[in-house]
Symmetry: C2
Subunit: 209 residues, 2 copies
């Protein structure tokens, strides 16, 4: 019978990704429940049904497993930027890409468990010092992709010109600030509003208010 996988790359690759994501989510979930210090690699592996040794084949540390969720989210923003029509002005495209990806808890009516989990996860990464580094590192990784997208869009060169990385760095910082404020202060203001405001100020040259 014909192989009816219908998916790219073969079944093997697919399963790997599933395991990877499952491990990552398990790490987040357990850490939210018990705190980072009370979660051993053994527990995470058990939750997914693999050996502890296998966990370390996927992630080189507990922290990396947790930050992997964040990394993927951040990456998707770069992808979204690439998906924006080339005719759009850069800052407008950035804004639209961000808004598309920061649409959280908007759809449906709060029944979106994964978003909830993710928000709790971000809170965690901000709170636990041991995770802050990992989250920042993940942001930096995504920043590189974002810079590449900006370079492509503006016809500049990532290696010879500072411009793309400058934009990527500033935008990443803006996202971070917006998210942090959103989590800390009143949740009444939507994250999207804050992100838009931050980006707008950036593109205006951050004049003193």
């Amino acid at each position: 019978m014909g192989t009816e996988d219908g998916e790219r790359g073969g079944l093997r690759e697919r399963k790997k990704q599933e395991t990877r994501i499952a491990l990552s989510w398990a790490a987040v979930r357990l850490t939210i429940e018990r705190g980072l210090e009370n979660v051993r690699v053994e527990d995470i592996a058990a939750e997914v049904g693999v050996s502890p040794r296998t966990f370390n084949n996927y992630f080189s540390s507990k922290g990396e497993a947790i930050a992997a969720r964040h990394l993927e989210r951040a990456r998707s923003i770069a992808a979204e930027l690439r998906a924006q029509p080339a005719s759009k002005p850069l800052w407008e495209a950035i804004n639209d890409a961000a808004l598309a990806r920061f649409a959280l808890g908007q759809e449906g009516d709060g029944r979106n468990t994964h978003d909830q989990q993710w928000i709790a996860g971000v809170r965690l990464m901000i709170a636990e010092p041991a995770l802050q580094g990992e989250m920042i590192k993940a942001s930096a990784a995504a920043e590189a992709e974002f810079a590449a997208a900006v370079a492509e869009r503006t016809g500049t060169d990532v290696t010879s010109d500072m411009y793309p990385k400058l934009v990527a760095g500033a935008v990443t910082a803006a996202f971070g600030v917006a998210v942090e404020h959103w989590l800390r202060a009143d949740p009444s203001v939507s994250i999207m509003t804050l992100v838009s405001e931050a980006l707008h100020r950036l593109s205006a040259g951050l004049p003193a208010p």
Copy 2:
């Protein structure tokens, strides 16, 4: 005989700081020589003449010890910003503060061993993946101080207004990009030129070139 310390806080505190700095430099030096994987905590402690256990009283990891140099440098920029006259416009003050602190290898004539060591240290932190996180984390820590300085100067509030953190984040990113380009590409261009250019672009709203 009279205690002729002439320094603040007592002799004890002083010695602690010295040990701390000595450990940090030793960590940098050894890692440059042998690579991170070939340096154990034991070696660093031995170099300074303390027990391995003591090392961990000062730093909670090897990486932190190395990044401590970077952290101190970054902090000094925030301090420099505070030292700028309040009458100066914000962006001018930021630029001047940065230039004052990025004056490297300029003075004297290359006889400045500590600057050389530091440059090599930064190269290291950029190259070794295990150290990237630490360096970024240190940058983030300094960023908070920078934000406080900006808040003070602009009369904004760090907790309620995004502005100070936005500026701090963007500026930190700009420093990072400038340093990275300086290290990677031709060392002919001075770091100060690159920093100024990056800041100027930022304050102009990062228009596509």
